[in-house]
């Protein structure tokens, strides 16, 4: 169980070590101490390992992650798990702007709040935020799911494509072409599974959520929609 002290080992050395892990390595758990808000910690990992970061991470922590399970025992800066392909990233504190931006897959769990543009341009990632999210969250999100247990800021799901949004608290305002949709049994089932994956099994009732999705009125440029642009 290697422990990496980023006051001693440089970030470059640490990331390089993660990138060079042999497939099937026995080193599958890494503990990082003294992260001190450094940027790009454990970015670009492509291995079925666990990285546990004790402290706060800077920008783009776990960026473009594939397969790894990355836990941040603290808060994360801008773009945590941006463009994640697969794996799991768990922020125990709060996340800054653009959490999970453009993510293609995997699960991002944020125990605290996430700032603006959470899940912006998401392309398949699932995001569960136990607190609230800021404005413009899920902007132009194409695929995947954003689950918010708390409230959302303004313009939720603006110009949304096919991503799904579930909110338990208050939605401050919906963005262009984002509409409330009926929460059917199949949605509750999927949502329940996602909440379970996020460690909330039995704690939260999927029936308490409201579902939002694309009105699909902006899918083709049309003069009648000009006021929405």
């Amino acid at each position: 169980m290697p422990t990496i002290d980023l006051e001693i080992t440089s970030l470059r050395e640490f990331n390089k070590m993660l990138h060079e892990l042999a497939e099937g390595t026995n080193d599958t758990y890494f503990r990082v101490v003294n992260p001190r808000g450094r940027h790009a910690i454990a970015a670009g990992v492509d291995a079925p390992i666990t990285v546990e970061i004790d402290g706060n991470a800077g920008y783009y922590c776990a960026g473009m992650n594939k397969r790894a399970n990355i836990i941040i025992n603290g808060s994360a800066g801008v773009g945590v798990a941006e463009n994640m392909m697969s794996g799991r990233v768990h922020v125990k504190g709060d996340a800054s702007a653009s959490a999970g931006a453009t993510g293609c897959g995997g699960l991002l769990v944020i125990d605290g709040n996430a700032s603006s543009r959470c899940g912006i341009s998401a392309r398949g990632i699932d995001i569960v935020v136990k607190g609230s999210v800021g404005h413009m969250s899920a902007f132009m999100a194409q695929a995947g799911t954003l689950v918010v247990l708390g409230d959302t800021g303004d313009a939720l799901g603006d110009s949304l494509y096919e991503a799904r949004i579930f909110v338990r608290g208050k939605v401050n305002s919906l963005g262009s072409d984002c509409v409330e949709k009926q929460l059917r049994e199949e949605h509750k089932e999927k949502l329940g599974k996602l909440l379970e994956d996020a460690g909330l099994a039995g704690e939260v009732d999927p029936s308490d959520f409201r579902r939002y999705g694309s009105g699909r009125t902006l899918y083709h440029f049309h003069m009648d929609n000009l006021e929405a642009y």
């Binding site: 970030l11 470059r12 990331n15 390089k16 990138h19 940027h39 790009a40 970015a43 670009g44 492509d46 800077g58 920008y59 783009y60 960026g63 473009m64 594939k66 801008v78 773009g79 941006e82 463009n83 392909m85 702007a97 653009s98 931006a101 453009t102 293609c104 543009r117 912006i120 341009s121 392309r123 398949g124 902007f139 132009m140 194409q142 695929a143 110009s159 494509y161 096919e162 899918y219 083709h220 440029f221 003069m223």
Partner: protein, 446 residues
């Protein structure tokens, strides 16, 4: 004389202000209620490389022998930070054009032609295709605001990464790929439903300014283990400050695209009225690099309206390290070819004027996803044509460089140039021909 109508009714007088194009555009707008969208770059006449001339050798300097004495053309890109900089045999690269806006075979042809000549191609909005990676020996992978198709595996497969902040045709603009070009494969690569109009974002989703971009670049370098050169592409708008900020953000290479640079589709008003000509942008960008002691350390690639070897030589003489071509490369593949005139007319255009790339009805089979039209285009023959064209550009550039006595095309310098117009003299910072007057030189600041 009183009966002679010639004096009473002079020939009709057309307005210079309300010219033929303006009147047609007003009629079009009144009929449709929507702005015109098209491809290509700016079509209006702007000060350009044609307004510059080389002086050549004379009493005070001697030339090199054509076809005999060596005139090198190679260029290294990414020497500032990248562990694996790119070495190109010619200073002419192929600009980013997406699979989606271009057909797969057209992308393949670009790769084939560029690889024959030892230069690079660039992906585009929509990601990297396997065919493109296979056909391009040196491939630059674009990171655009939309991030369509962005994939860390492709980042690692690329030879360089180009972060697109803007492009010359539309600085400050995003993009739109209309539904008719969204085939099943294009839709899958972009994770979007088939057949919808795809909006490409104008801002990056996870950084907002040069301070953030510096951190973004650090992330990309970490992900790719500091191997790949990182370019920043900007549309020519405020070239001095934009170049300085790109250097500050950690770029290895700055790509500067003038308003004549092409696009697959945007509003005509955007193409013709936002951004500045490449001629006006190079010297401020070079000045910024020189002020930061970064000229030739951070390489400068310029684009937008490069057509021939003279344009290449002039861009290099003004301080660029390389040029990039997009529109010219498509023309070399067969776009706007005269023998297709009849077919262009059928879709309301003419050979030489076709610019509706967004409609996907290209008779040349280049800017389309229609299988029937795509079949018309032979990627092997197209690649050969592009290689021929690149070869001519290189030979012409060498011809000029030798005439100026240079053993490497990078030795061309502003002192080799004069301008034909006061405007070009001021923009390029070279004297008006026959004078030693550089307008604005005494108070040059950006």
């Amino acid at each position: 004389m009183g009966d002679d109508n010639r004096w009473v009714h002079p020939p009709p007088r057309y307005s210079s202000t309300f010219d033929e194009h303006s009147i047609a555009e007003i009629h079009r707008a009144a009929a449709t209620g929507i702005y015109d969208i098209r491809g290509f770059g700016a079509k209006r006449k702007v000060p350009h490389f044609d307004d510059l001339l080389f002086l050549g050798a004379s009493m005070s300097r001697y030339p090199l022998e054509g076809y005999r004495e060596k005139c090198a053309t190679d260029v290294m890109l990414g020497t500032r930070f990248a562990k694996k900089p790119i070495h190109l045999k010619i200073p002419i690269t192929i600009a980013g054009m997406s699979f989606g806006s271009l057909s797969g075979p057209a992308k393949e042809a670009l790769g084939r032609g560029a690889s024959i000549m030892g230069t690079s191609t660039t992906t585009g909005d929509g990601g990297m295709t396997e065919e493109e990676r296979q056909s391009s020996k040196t491939l630059v992978y674009q990171m655009l605001p939309s991030r369509y198709g962005m994939n860390p595996d492709h980042l690692r497969k690329a030879d360089a990464i180009e972060i697109v902040v803007g492009q010359g045709a539309k600085p400050g603009g995003g993009g739109m790929l209309l539904g008719q070009k969204i085939s099943k494969r294009v839709a899958e690569m972009r994770t979007l439903p088939e057949g919808i109009d795809q909006r490409s974002a104008c801002r990056h989703p996870d950084w907002t300014g040069p301070d953030d971009l510096e951190i973004k670049i650090e992330e990309l370098r970490e992900i790719t283990d500091w191997e790949k050169p990182i370019y920043i592409k900007i549309g020519a708008a405020r070239p001095y400050y934009d170049t300085a900020l790109a250097v500050k953000a950690g770029a290895d290479v700055v790509v500067l695209d003038g308003m004549q640079g092409g696009t697959a589709a945007t509003q005509e008003v955007f193409i013709e009225h936002i951004g500045i000509p490449i001629l006006a942008a190079i010297r401020p960008a070079v000045q910024a690099l020189q002020d930061l002691d970064m000229h030739r350390k951070v390489q400068l690639i310029v684009s937008g309206g490069i057509r021939n070897g003279a344009d290449v030589a002039k861009a290099l003489a003004l301080g660029a390290d390389a040029v990039s071509i997009g529109t010219a490369a498509l023309i070399a593949l067969g776009d706007n070819a005269p023998h297709l005139d009849e077919e262009y007319r059928k879709i309301g255009s003419r050979a030489g004027a076709y610019d509706d790339y967004h409609e996907g009805r290209d008779p040349a089979g280049i800017t389309t996803q229609d299988p029937e039209l795509m079949r018309r285009f032979d990627p092997v023959a197209g690649g050969r044509r592009l290689a021929n064209y690149l070869s001519v550009l290189t030979l012409e550039t060498q011809t000029i460089a030798r005439a100026c006595g240079k053993s490497h095309v990078h030795n061309l310098e502003p002192e080799d140039l004069v301008a034909l117009t006061v405007e070009a003299a001021a923009m390029a910072g070279v004297p008006l021909a026959g004078t030693n007057w550089i307008p604005g030189a005494e108070s040059a600041s950006f």
